[in-house]
Every structure is written in structure tokens, then in C-alpha cells.
């Protein structure tokens, strides 16, 4: 294997990993606060179209990213109000958000079909970004560096800051946190909004970097893989990074198998691989840790204080 091939492979893997890493980091914070939001896929699609739309309107990819974050966060608020104010079932409401996000993004996307924006690529000088070797470090979209930076930041926030400790407390025992005097709903609103924003940016990676145009359902189920990743990582930011790259490599294999034809198996086998591996990975994790281990104790349960 040549160096060029390895560099190309790394760049492919990083590209495939970034959206699921972003969405999973967001969902990690949401779940640590005790909320299960299955609407990741819908929020990613909303982020993808809002980011794309904002870029088309302003010609500024940075504003596009803000638009993506806002689109994801705003759509997550639909979920938040239902779940936090009306105590609706979290699983069903998350599903509703995914269905809604899929439909609404297609509707908004109609006005943007046929548009193409410049790829939101590397912002480093061309000498670095296009260098055949150095591009493996400098050749990525700013979103990639942002995603990588967020791994230690989220980890540090959860583990070492007071706000992170309060967030974990809310996810661990909402009634106690409430009785001490913390605003359970406030913390959860913030967490859900953060999860929405991160999913939105993850979605925008599809419409602004991978294929700089809009297509219906372009996130292709990656939101669900992000959800599985959080379980797989045992609710730890560090392991999330490892898991995300594991899936990134699997998805890259599909592309190479299709392109190179070295596969003796049909291409559909490789396309199904990430999903099959998700099932296998979840099983292996559950086998090792039968009781659910690190899952926040209040995950997915309604908060019913007696006031």
C-alpha cells in the first residue's frame, strides 16, 4: 500500500466519521442529562438544509454553520417542550421529531434543489492544505477540527466542571437534583438544545462538505448510528471517539469495496456492513456489561416532581 493510498484512506475515514462524531457528542450530553432523544436523524437533516440554505443566502459558510446549529437546536426544542413540559413518551416523541425533520427538510429543500455551494474546505494556506502529504493534517474542513476539539471539551465539561457535575446529577437522580434546588428542566432544555445544535452541524457536514448540495434524506441513517455509538461508548466521550472512527473505517470499506472491485461479495453486503456491525457492537457491549453499566439512571424516564 502506497503512502498516497494511506493518506487518501485517512482523509476518507475522517470525512465519514465527522458527522456521526458530532451528533453522538451532542446526544451524549443529552443522555447524560437523563433524556433520550431519538430525533437525531431528523435534527441532522434540519441542520443540513438550514446550513445549506444559510450558505446559499449569505455566501458565507461560517454563517451556514451557525444556521445549521440553529436549525438543529430549534427543531430539538419541539421535542424538548413535549417531553419536558407535557411529559410525553421520549421514544415516541423522538421518532416524531425524526419523521418531522425528514418531511420539513424536504419541504424547505425544494427551494434549494439545483443549487451548489463551494465546499466548505480547509482554511489553511493552499501550500499546506493541498500538499500531498501535509493535507492529511491540514486538508480538512474546519468542522472536522471542531468535532475533534469537542471530544476533550465535552469530556472535560462532564467530568471536571461544576455545570457538568450538575448535568450528570440531573441525569442520575432528577428528583434529588430538584429537591436540592437545581432546575431539572432548565438543565435538560440546555442539554437538548446543545444536542440539537451538534446534530445540526453534523448534518451540515453532508450538505456543505461531502456533497455541497441538498438532497432529501441525505444523512442516510447516520443519526441512528450516532445513537448506537453513545451506547457503544458506555456514555464516555473518549470511547466515543474510538467508536466513531471504528464505524468510519467500516463505512470507508464500503466505498473502497465498491470502487476497487476487490470485493467478491455484492456491494450491498458492504453497504449493510455498518448497520450489521452496529448490531454486533451493541451486542458485544451488552454482553460485557449486562446491567447497563454507565447508563444514566434516569435515562428516558419522565420527570414527575410532586409539587
Amino acid at each position: 500500500m502506497s503512502t498516497e493510498f494511506i493518506i487518501a484512506a485517512i482523509i476518507t475515514v475522517v470525512g465519514l466519521t465527522t458527522p456521526i462524531l458530532l451528533a453522538a457528542l451532542g446526544e451524549l450530553v443529552v443522555e447524560k442529562a437523563g433524556v433520550l432523544n431519538l430525533g437525531v436523524e431528523g435534527m441532522m437533516l434540519m441542520g443540513a438544509i438550514c446550513g445549506f440554505g444559510a450558505t446559499v443566502s449569505t455566501f458565507n459558510p461560517w454563517i451556514g454553520i451557525l444556521g445549521a446549529a440553529a436549525g438543529g437546536a430549534l427543531s430539538s426544542m419541539l421535542f424538548a417542550v413535549l417531553v419536558l413540559e407535557l411529559n410525553s413518551n421520549q421514544v415516541a416523541t423522538g421518532l416524531a421529531l425524526t419523521i418531522f425533520g425528514t418531511g420539513l427538510s424536504s419541504l424547505i429543500g425544494l427551494s434549494y434543489t439545483g443549487f451548489i455551494v463551494p465546499v466548505f474546505g480547509s482554511v489553511f494556506p493552499a501550500s499546506l492544505a493541498n500538499d500531498p502529504y501535509l493535507k492529511v493534517i491540514f486538508g480538512y474542513s474546519p468542522i472536522v477540527y471542531f468535532a475533534l476539539a469537542m471530544v476533550p471539551i465535552v469530556g472535560w465539561f462532564l467530568k471536571s466542571t461544576r455545570s457538568g457535575m450538575i448535568l450528570r446529577a440531573v441525569g442520575e437522580n432528577d428528583l434529588s437534583a430538584h429537591s436540592i434546588g437545581y432546575s431539572v428542566k432548565g438543565v435538560r432544555y440546555a442539554a437538548i438544545a446543545f444536542g440539537g445544535a451538534m446534530a445540526g452541524i453534523g448534518g451540515a457536514y453532508f450538505s456543505m462538505v461531502i456533497t455541497p448540495m441538498w438532497a432529501e434524506k441525505m444523512t442516510a441513517g447516520r443519526g441512528w448510528i450516532a445513537l448506537a455509538l453513545v451506547v457503544f461508548a458506555g456514555w464516555r466521550a473518549g470511547r466515543l471517539l474510538v467508536g466513531a472512527y471504528f464505524f468510519g473505517i467500516l463505512m470507508a470499506l464500503e466505498l473502497y469495496a465498491k470502487a476497487s472491485g476487490f470485493s467478491f461479495l455484492p456491494s450491498q453486503f458492504w453497504a449493510a456492513m455498518p448497520y450489521l456491525m452496529t448490531v454486533i457492537a451493541l451486542s458485544v457491549i451488552s454482553m460485557r456489561d449486562r446491567s447497563g453499566g454507565n447508563a444514566p439512571a434516569c435515562l428516558g424516564k419522565p420527570f414527575l416532581p410532586s409539587t
Binding site: 446529577a169 442520575e172 437522580n173 434529588s176 429537591s179 436540592i180 437545581y182 454507565n294 444514566p296 409539587t307
Partner: protein
Amino acid sequence: MGTETTARLELKSITKRFPGVLANDQVSFSVQPGEIHALLGENGAGKSTLVKMIYGIMQPDGGEIRWNGERIVVANPKAARRLGIGMVFQHFSLFEAMTVLENIALGMDAKIPARELEARIKEVMTQYGLKLEPHRIVSTLSVGERQRIEIVRALLLNPKLLIMDEPTSVLTPQEVEQLFIVLRQLASEGCSILYISHKLHEIKALCHTATILRGGKLVDTCNPSVETSRSMAEKMIGGNLKTIEKAEGRAIGREKLIVNRLNMPARSHFGVSLKDITFTVREGEIFGIAGVAGNGQNALLLALSGETLSEDEGAITVDGAKLGRLTAKQRRLAGVSSVPEERNGHAAVPEFTLADNSVLTARDRLGMVKIGLIDQRAAKTYAGEVISTFAVKALGPGSTAGSLSGGNLQKYIMGREIMQNPAVLVVSQPTWGVDAGAAAAIHQALVDLAAAGSAIVVISQDLDELLSLCDTLAVINEGRLSPAMKVADADIEEIGLLMGGVHGDPAATANLHPELAHAHQA
């Protein structure tokens, strides 16, 4: 400062309404600096609601709260802590998966660096003789240690008023005595203590003043040292105490339920495993299992009812039949009924009607199922019979279980099992959160069932209940059961030590408070 005459806390005509209930009705009393003030009342008398308003968790609908003479509104617990009010909850507000240090930090409003906080915690611990390891995960601690976290958390704020909500319900007599030493020291330093309990002997031993609540109303404020336990109990219950009528010279017959070396692994991280549980219950015998909460009572009930299965079919036998590997359904058919501690969601389904709830445990024994279909009429009839026989206050078999009060639902559940004439009945916390009238009725029903020849196991944290109800007693601690002893010649001090198990500090028994021990034996 010359404020000797100003009360630290004064409540004037505090009123709080819930849908359908007047939880507090014009309650007024005051607490002086350095006073240990008891708030006495039955479950449901309105004690917890009252202190939740003082601590700012709830807001009163009427009346006023005065703090050092000034009228205040306690908007939330944070505001309460700023005023100098600390609270130790009955159900601890702890975070299982987090460390002691994190748990304490969460209770502090100010942002204190971890190292400084740790130093201050150590300071408080040495000052009051409280032992704790700051970096342990809470889920690995005993109940007594968990309460210590709450106390340290409250003490770090230098409280002027400390509210203790039923602090001893989960402690061994020895741990209770250690707690009292801390509370007396605090009071001597000028901190007021509002001590909520329904245990009269403790109040006599500890408190300077007692305010008694009944049905949300203030009944009396008295000096516990001049009252007798009986007189306070009568004020609390509002009538003369009923004693259980045990049939004279009740015959205890042959061996019925034999549990032999029953082992059961823990069901979760936080669960307790059962180790070599062995005991025998005879026909007509009421066998009590005492112990501090969380020592395997739940696991034992599940193992006996068949909700968890034993590896060894011979571990549980009834009349010689081996039941260890039989399911809950099969054991019921074999005559073993059970009533778990949690009524809503375990013994009964809150959203279901009483008729539907009768199907839950009576369908096979009473033939409510025909070719896979439920005979609704039979279920309704049976539910109606239980309601009338056990004087359950409900509109009828169509009422949902969740709409009944705790006492009435418990009467219904007990009735549902007892009217199936079980050969063996296992009951956990039969009168937890139940008013005195219902408790007496339940106790009487158990005694009558035993008189009819059933073998009964009562698991309870309420030692007084067991001592008055049971013929035989054993103590469970960390999943091990002590040898059985006759209640008639049981020694309260020994029971206390057994309840403490490995957590107990043997040295503490040397100076076990005489009044405490005495009150139990009375």
C-alpha cells in the same frame, strides 16, 4: 444580641391544599434557638408537607413564615439555605453513581474548589465524630453512611435550623444513638433542630418540645418529658389505642414453610444477595423478619414469591412440596401468596380497576380464566367481595387502584391475597404509610389468617410492629438471616446488634441509651 425572646422560626396559620386534601390547616408553632423541636404525627398527618414549605420546595397557600422575627417567603431550597436552613431528607437526595465529595459539592450553593471542600468536610467530620471516605462512590455505602453525607452536607452550611425528616427509620438502634449525640451537640451550639418522627420513645429521649399533627391540623404542643408515650400516641392517633386480639393459647401446628439454605445472587449493582437463608414457619405461626432497609428484604420477598427463581428446588418447601424452581404462577397455585412492599406498580397496577387488579394474582386460584379468556364477571364479583369484607373505601370494583389512598389500597391488596386462603402468606411492610385504623385492621386480618392455620411471614422495618404481631422473629442483615428467637423472650439490645450486623460498632452498645432500650421493650 438580646434576641432571646425572638423565635428562630415561627409559623403562623400555615395552610396547604392539594386536590382533594387539606394537607396543612392553619398550623402555627415556633422553634427557639438551640431547641430540639419534634414534629410528631402519623404518616399522612402533614409533617413532610409542612417542612417542605419551610425548606422552600413547596409554597404555602396561606399563612406566614417568620425567621428571627422577620416575615419571609422561602422561594426555593437555595433561598432556605441562604437563610441558614438545612435539611436531611427521609429519602436521601443522593446520586448513586457519584462520589461522596461530588454529592456534597452538589448540595453547596457556593462554588468551592474540590480540595478546599474536602478539607472543610474533614473538619466537620472530626468536630462531630462523623466518619466518611470522600472519594467512595455512594452506591457502595451503607444506609447509615449515606445519611452521614446528608448531615455533613447540611452542617457545612453552618445551619441555624436543621430539619431532620424521619432520620432514624433506616438506622439501627446503635446508629440512632450516635445520631442523637451529634444532634445534642449541635443544639448546645445554638442550632435549632426540627425533628420529624412518629417514634415516641425517640422523641422522649431527644426533644425539648413536641408539636403533634393529625390530619393536617395541629393537635397540641407539649413537653415530651412530662408526657407518657401513650398519651402522645393517643393525641397523634386521636383515640384510644387498639390492641391486637391474639387468640388465647393459639395452637402452632406442624412445620409448613421450610426455607433451607436459600441463596440468590444480587439482581443489580446496587442489590443485595441472599446467603444461606434458613428458617421454618409452622401452621398458625406469624414469623417476623426485622432489619434495616436495604439488607435483602426485597430480594427475600421476591425469592419466596417466585418472582426470582432459586437454583435449588429444595431450598423452599411447603408441606414437603419443593417450590424452589417453580414460577410465581405455579407457587400461587401451590398456595403461596405474597404482598410486596411497593403497592403502586408492584402489588397492583395503579391505572387498572380493582376488578382488573384481582385478575393479577387471583386468576388461576379462583378460576377466572376460561380457554385463554378472562371471565370479567368473576373478577368483578371477587373484587366486590374483597371491598366489602375488608371495608375498603372505594366506589366499587370499577375504581382504579391509583385512586385509592395508601391505606385503602393496602387493605384491598391484603384482602385479595387473604381471601384466596393461602397456605403461606409472605408480606413485606404491611402497614408502611398506612393510617392507624387501616394498620389495626391489617394486623387483625393477619392474626385471624394465622388462627385459621396459615403460615405467615411478615417482613418489616418497624420493630414495634413485629414485636407486637409476631410469635417468632429473626433479623436480616446484608442478606443473611439470624437464627430465630421467640418474641416473648427477645432481647431488644441483641436485636439491635443483629440489625447493625457488620456495620454495627460493638463499642456503641456499651452506652446504649437506657431510655431507648426501655421504650422498645415497653
